[in-house]
Amino acid sequence: MWNTIILEPMINSLLYIYSVLGQNFGWAIIVFTALVRLITLPLTIQQMRSTMVMQEIQGSDRYKKMQEKYKKDKQKLSEEQMKLFKEVGYNPMSGCVGLIIQFPIIIGLYQAVIRTLAATPVQLFDLSKLLYPFTSASLIPVNPQFLWMNLGQPERLVLDFLPFAIPVLTILVVITTYLQTKLTTPASPDAQSQTMTKMMGLYMPLLLGYFAYSLASGLALYFFASNLLGILQGYIMRRIRERPAS
């Protein structure tokens, strides 16, 4: 079911884009990531709106007073919070729904990239079973070369004048993940949320940086492209939010 609904459409779309773009798998990953981002844009907007509304609530006097008044009675605090959410028409689950729907898409996108690269016999055999009849088998195996990278191998830039190789993509993934986390999770007045944001800003770049360093660079390219688009989305959303209402 996972293969039929998520993986097969993604792999065959990726291969279609690859064929249209002159069999350049690097550009295929970037364009495919952009398309998936575009398709899931309503979910992202919903999730970001939800975060903003929550932040506005957390910044309100009523919410702060409530926190102070019931700081020793968690049960009562929870009840009052829910009452407030209901009054302002905020559904605490609305942000999660978008995130939950996006989760399998992110996993599927990662798997589609890795499986289409098919660096081992088992992966190539499995790929042969995931192709639609109209997908040309002559596209297989995909050309893994993109710029200085072999997209099926971890990326390192070797320069003649340096005694060591530089993991350029890993560095870019760490920086862009940090920037994206900063942009898409604006400062919250709530102390607990602040701690979570701080930790997210620390752990997420490290985790994705580790993946980018140790796994196929096709995946790192996807992270980088996805982060850049996320930063762009976050910037636009922030500008819209800051624009004075006419």
């Binding site: 798997q111 016999p121 088992v122 140790s214």
Partner: protein
């Protein structure tokens, strides 16, 4: 009441991210912990040589005893999947996913490395073969290396170079090497020099070795076409469209080619005309080449079954397919101890199937 001071809240996020990481990597087909390929098996004089994961092992098929294992201690960075090649003096040539080729000899129960060759720049996936005093090693870097069996030194001026990876063993007929590549081509090379005699573009990836007769060379493609080419010049004599992608090379006997495809269909074709003689449905996809033994042909299904048909008309030999645990993707080998069937993702690495009854038992367990 003692209040817990352990910062559980602080650990919440790392735990969630860790789970996400596990899901991202672990649930994919590209798990970094899983075997990257199926076991490579070779049998020589009652000894099975098995390359799988971090070891190459020699197992006495009569006693089931492990004769030796290399390396003595597993190394996470070195894995072996290419079927080993055995020289006339018992030298075992193995290729690893660390790009290295090793020649091993056995002295007083100790495995010695006779030589090593480390010039390949990508993994050794297809099995090396030994021709007289020369070893031919296909590499995923697209080159075919010819090495001296005694010294490991290159024999040709330069290795033959295809446009993409070589994942299958070359095949020899007279003074020619026949070789397939992921670059969609089949090549005929001069055995002495490694120079190209002819090449043919089959428009789609060829994963397994070609099969040969005195006049024809056969190769199945990812596009699901079995090609028969003239082996002197490489012209296409006929082609046959199967239902699915073809992975395993055809088995040929008495003018008939037997093969199966990824859709799980087994075929028998007349090799003179390419005309279909019979076809039968298998329980699952097939990646392995069929094996012919006496009057029957054995097909391996990925889903864990071995199915036997009569060569003549495709009638099933057993009431039902022999069933085993795991994924069966590698070729089977007929021996005095039954048909040996390598398995991956299984509690057993090699099964033995009785060709008469289809009864299966585990003959080599994982290390």
């Amino acid at each position: 009441m003692i209040k817990a001071t352990f910062p559980l809240k602080k650990l919440f996020l790392p735990i969630i991210l860790g789970l996400f990481a596990l899901l991202l990597v672990g649930c994919s087909g590209a798990s970094i912990m899983a075997a990257s390929s199926w076991p490579g098996l070779t049998v020589n004089e009652d000894i099975a040589y098995l390359a799988y994961n971090q070891h190459v092992r020699a197992v006495d098929l009569s006693s089931g005893r492990e004769v030796w294992s290399y390396p003595p201690e597993a190394d996470d960075k070195i894995t072996f999947y290419a079927p080993p090649a055995i020289g006339p003096d018992g030298t075992v040539v193995i290729g690893g996913y660390n790009n290295e080729v090793l020649a091993l000899t056995l002295n007083d129960s100790f495995v010695n490395v006779l030589w090593s060759f480390a010039e390949a720049t990508d993994r050794i996936i297809g099995g090396p073969i030994i021709v007289d005093d020369m070893v031919l090693v296909p590499s995923a870097d697209g080159r075919l290396y010819a090495l001296d069996l005694e010294t490991g030194k290159p024999v040709w001026d330069k290795p033959f170079e295809a446009q993409h990876a070589l994942w299958s063993s070359p095949v020899i007929l007279d003074d020619r090497i026949y070789l397939t590549s992921l670059d969609h081509h089949i090549y005929a090379l001069d055995l002495e020099t490694g120079r190209e005699v002819w090449q043919a573009n089959l428009s789609s990836t060829i994963s397994d070795s070609p099969s040969l007769t005195e006049e024809l060379v056969f190769a199945g493609t990812f596009e699901g076409i079995l090609f028969a080419l003239n082996n002197s010049h490489g012209e296409i004599v006929w082609q046959f469209k199967a239902d699915g992608a073809i992975w395993g090379s055809p088995a040929i006997l008495n003018g008939v080619a037997f093969f199966a495809d990824v859709s799980g269909t087994a075929y028998a074709l007349d090799i003179a005309s390419g005309k279909e003689l019979w076809r039968e449905q298998l329980p699952g996809s097939s990646a392995a080449s069929p094996t012919i033994l006496d009057d029957r042909v054995f097909f391996i299904s990925e889903t864990g079954e071995v199915t036997a048909f009569l060569l003549e008309n495709g009638d099933p030999v057993w009431p039902s397919s022999a069933s085993m645990e795991g994924r069966l993707l590698a070729d089977s080998i007929p021996t005095d101890h039954g048909l040996l069937v390598p398995a991956m993702d299984s509690e057993c690495v090699v099964f033995s199937v009785d060709p008469s009854t289809g009864a299966a038992r585990c003959i080599i367990e994982p290390k």
